[in-house]
């Protein structure tokens, strides 16, 4: 009975979302405050109804309501409660409901936070956000009902996909979804600006923080996904350029480009068309990513026809493309830039190049991801492009991007003279050359030499920026260096928080270079007590243990890690295999890991004989991998500094609320 409620209120939410779109649009057109209030209430009501509905599905999962097809297919009695919670996004219908839940929640937060601001813009923003919600509600009501019945009550469920039974899999999809869903907000502001013809700086300034937050979620989601792949998939790496990964990476690329190019619009009043196009691309890629990971279109074109959501997504994507382009062309005269680029040795020119690179990488990745589909449609044969294609095309582009990351912040807006140029670049260039020489002496290969030199260059520019910024503050205020740095964050968090994010990116770059060029690996079968050497480690197999868990059997091997030089035991690692009761043919792996700042010893248990007297392993030594995760943390810290509301911002917000006050 309770599950009927879940389905029925989703239908009500659908109707209210449709109504709210109309109320928002006409409220905005006529500036009718009653319609506008109604659109706000529609946003809140949809959020509440979807939340109740999701609550009901959770209730079904927790109470093992196997009469629901979704619960039956994605849960089982013995599943730990933890994973029953995350089973909500373990399958298609549930994950779409979860998407809708986060989206409507995000929309409600946006509406509430801006209820007294941007009064001309907000009704349209509500309408656009509700349009996205409406689409997902249509899917939930007509295509994949999460409350569909089996017709009888099965005694037990089929279990959750073993790969998803991992703590990273609880948090990683949530982060990605928050990032995905959040990108609908800046898009809604952009479309709101186009509809209301308010195409000045208002939406750009507001949208910055609403983009930074989902961008942070998306970045963390991607990094946590890599962490999961590294720890669970057991092939020694963290990124394989597979379509699902690319689906999350594509909007990240365009979103990052957008975050940079809105700064140019704010500072120089140029690139107005480009900015709305970028955020539209980001939103489009978000929906496309949600689509491709669910329709199966990338595995085979034929599975698209069998997918029950495919045609809906295709229709919505077409609406997004044509609706937006029509609106854009209609508003084109209002998007005229205020200035031209003054000089190519200026920050805006460097930012523009950054944008080209980001979009270039995005297009190469998109092309590579969809190539198998195109080839199947055109030739009937499926030709996949794999990691080497992506690395070959994107590798050099990323290196250039990294270089620009060092160069751009050192240039001034409008024009940088030769003397200023020299003043800014001398020290970082020297440091880069020294690094290149050092790498050349120790490991003679070209790419890592260039890559690490660029990393050193960028780091040097950032340190120099901090030192000069703090000195400039000291000269005027006499603060000590620590206070000066914290003031740089609080007074100019956008720039100095951004530098911390850049440091994070450099760290990730270093980790990638280490792994790409200096990874070592070996596959061996070891009898108990036998050893193998790799790098300057010696590993000894010491036996295997079994452990019974509620819904699986855990096999855990034990290996001692010795230092070959000193002969000392450094660590014990435990690579594991889990064999699930419901899906014994899909064992999962958990790597044994010794992590140090310098390198990881990474052991995968491939198999063992029945007594455990011998076992087969793949062992990797992955240099510098830890810096990838540290880099992720730096990105989070830096983004928070950049997005933190500070005094100057509050001031402008106050100005606006006062300006609008007479209209209330």
């Amino acid at each position: 009975m309770i599950f009927d409620i879940g389905h029925l209120i989703l239908m009500t939410a659908l109707v209210l979302a449709a109504f709210g779109i109309i109320a928002g649009y006409f409220g905005g057109q006529r500036r009718n405050t009653r319609l506008i209030t109604s659109s706000f209430n529609a946003v809140y009501a949809v959020a509440v109804l979807v939340a109740i509905s999701a609550g009901i599905l959770w209730y079904g999962l927790f109470t093992d309501a196997f009469q629901l097809s979704y619960v039956w297919n994605h849960s089982e009695r013995a599943l730990p409660t933890f994973y029953k919670f995350s089973a909500l996004w373990g399958g298609q219908a549930g994950s779409l409901l979860f998407w809708c839940l986060l989206l409507s929640g995000f929309s409600a937060v946006v509406a509430f936070a801006n209820r007294h601001k941007h009064q001309v813009l907000m009704p349209y923003v509500n309408a656009v956000l509700l349009t996205t919600s409406l689409f997902f509600l249509i899917l939930l009501v007509f295509a994949t009902d999460p409350f569909k019945r089996v017709g009888f009550v099965p005694p037990d469920g089929q279990g959750l996909n073993p790969l998803l039974q991992n703590y990273w899999m609880i948090i990683h999809p949530v982060m990605l979804y928050l990032g995905y869903v959040g990108m609908a907000v800046p898009f809604a502001f952009a479309v709101g600006a186009l509809l209301s013809k308010r195409l000045g700086n208002e939406w750009v300034r507001t949208v910055r923080r609403w983009t930074l937050i989902p961008w942070l979620f998306l970045s963390l989601g991607i990094i946590m996904g890599s962490q999961w792949a590294y720890m669970e998939l057991g092939w020694g790496g963290y990124w394989a350029w597979d379509p699902v990964e690319n689906a999350s990476f594509l909007p990240w690329l365009t979103g990052t480009a957008f975050l940079h190019s809105i700064i140019i619009q704010e500072q120089r009043g140029i690139l107005k068309v480009w900015n709305v196009v970028l955020i539209w691309l980001t939103y489009f890629l978000v929906i496309l990513g949600t689509f491709t990971t669910r329709s199966g279109v990338l595995e085979s074109v034929h599975s698209f026809a069998r997918s029950d959501v495919g045609p809906y997504f295709l229709g919505f994507l077409i609406i997004i493309v044509f609706g937006f382009l029509w609106l854009l062309f209609d508003r084109l005269p209002l998007l005229r830039g205020e200035h031209q680029i003054d000089s190519y040795s200026s920050r805006e020119a460097a930012f523009l190049a950054n944008n080209w690179l980001f979009t270039g990488i995005a297009f190469a990745t998109l092309w590579g991801t969809f190539f198998p589909m195109f080839s199947e449609i055109l030739t009937g044969q499926r030709i996949s492009v794999a990691a080497p294609f992506f690395n070959k095309v994107n590798g050099p582009l990323f290196l250039m991007l990294l270089l620009l990351m060092g160069v751009a912040p050192l240039l001034g807006w409008r024009h940088t003279s030769l003397s200023a140029f020299r003043k800014q670049f001398t020290i970082p260039t020297i440091i880069a050359l020294i690094t290149a020489a050092l790498v050349f002496v120790f490991a003679r290969s070209l790419y890592p030499m260039i890559g690490l030199a660029i990393c050193a260059f960028v780091t040097a520019t950032i340190v120099q920026e901090y030192v000069r910024g703090a000195m400039a503050r000291r000269v005027t205020t006499g603060e000590n260096i620590f206070i000066a740095i914290t003031r740089l964050w609080s007074r100019n968090g956008r720039r100095y928080g951004g530098y911390i994010v850049h440091i994070g990116i450099v760290m990730i770059g270093v980790a990638i270079i280490g792994n790409e060029f200096y990874q070592q690996s070996v596959s061996v079968t070891l009898a108990r007590g036998e050893t193998v050497n790799l790098g300057h480690y010696e590993l000894e197999y010491a036996g295997i243990e079994t452990d019974r868990q509620p819904n699986l059997m855990e096999f855990s091997a034990r290996l001692l890690v010795y230092d070959t030089d000193s002969g000392q035991v450094l660590d014990t690692v435990h690579p594991k295999r889990n064999i699930y009761d419901k899906t014994p043919d899909m064992p999962t792996s958990e790597v044994g890991l010794r992590m140090t700042p310098f390198e990881d010893v990474y052991v995968v248990l491939n198999g063992w004989d029945n007594s455990g007297s011998s076992a087969t392993f793949t062992i990797y030594v992955n240099p510098l991998t830890m810096w990838m995760w540290v880099g992720g943390i730096m990105i989070a810290i830096g983004t928070l500094i950049a997005a933190w509301p500070h005094a100057a911002h509050r001031r402008t917000e106050t100005v606006r609320s006062l300006v609008y006050a007479p209209g209330d």
């Binding site: 500036r31 308010r198 800014q424």
Partner: protein, 188 residues
């Protein structure tokens, strides 16, 4: 049992629908949002120019600009700001009092942090004061409508797009071609 479920769902739906439709059921004439689009635009532009001035100064202090470039761009931006402020005062003469209201409003809202309040306004105040001094010259325009025709050359007028000085009678900026708002002699 099925009917109880449907009943609860109906009840929830009705509550939600009423909440959404409620604002439309109120009696009396519909209040219409009055927002001065032009004023909002001008205020936002002014804010933006002030941010650019600060950023420029900071870039100069950390050595990203040489003296000559700095002076040139700074002058341009300040003129732009003056141009914008002139227009704002015309569209909304009461906005002159807005800064005072604003400061008191900020004081009210701000959690008191004595050590933080000093450096922040210092920079702003510098720019505001400097612009205010120019503004005073400009402010004389509406006060002396007759002088606007004869002695127009005495009143500095600047393009809000590029900051170039423009003649009083021009409709477009001679330097960048941007359309110029007319400096009306009588405030609206």
């Amino acid at each position: 049992m099925l009917w109880t479920g449907i009943l609860i769902a109906l009840l929830l739906s009705v509550v939600a629908i009423v909440a959404v439709v409620w604002p439309l059921l109120k009696k009396g004439p519909t209040p219409v949002l009055v927002e001065d689009d032009r004023l909002t635009e001008l205020l936002l532009r002014k804010e933006q120019v002030l941010v650019q001035i600060k950023e420029l100064e900071f870039d100069y202090r950390v050595g990203k600009l040489d003296e000559e470039d700095y002076q040139r761009f700074d002058e341009r931006l300040r003129r732009q700001a003056v141009g914008l402020i002139q227009q704002i005062e015309q569209v909304a003469p009461e906005s002159a009092g807005l800064d005072a209201t604003l400061e008191s409003e900020i004081q009210k809202r701000r959690v008191v942090k004595p050590e933080e309040s000093t450096p922040a306004p210092a920079v702003d105040a510098g720019i505001e004061a400097e612009i205010a001094s120019r503004r005073r010259v400009a402010a004389a325009v509406p006060a002396q409508p007759s002088a606007a025709n004869g002695a127009a050359e005495d009143v500095p007028r600047f393009c809000t797009e590029c900051g170039s000085r423009v003649a009083a009678q021009h409709k477009f900026c001679a330097s960048c071609g941007a359309p110029l708002a007319e400096l009306a002699t009588t405030p609206q």
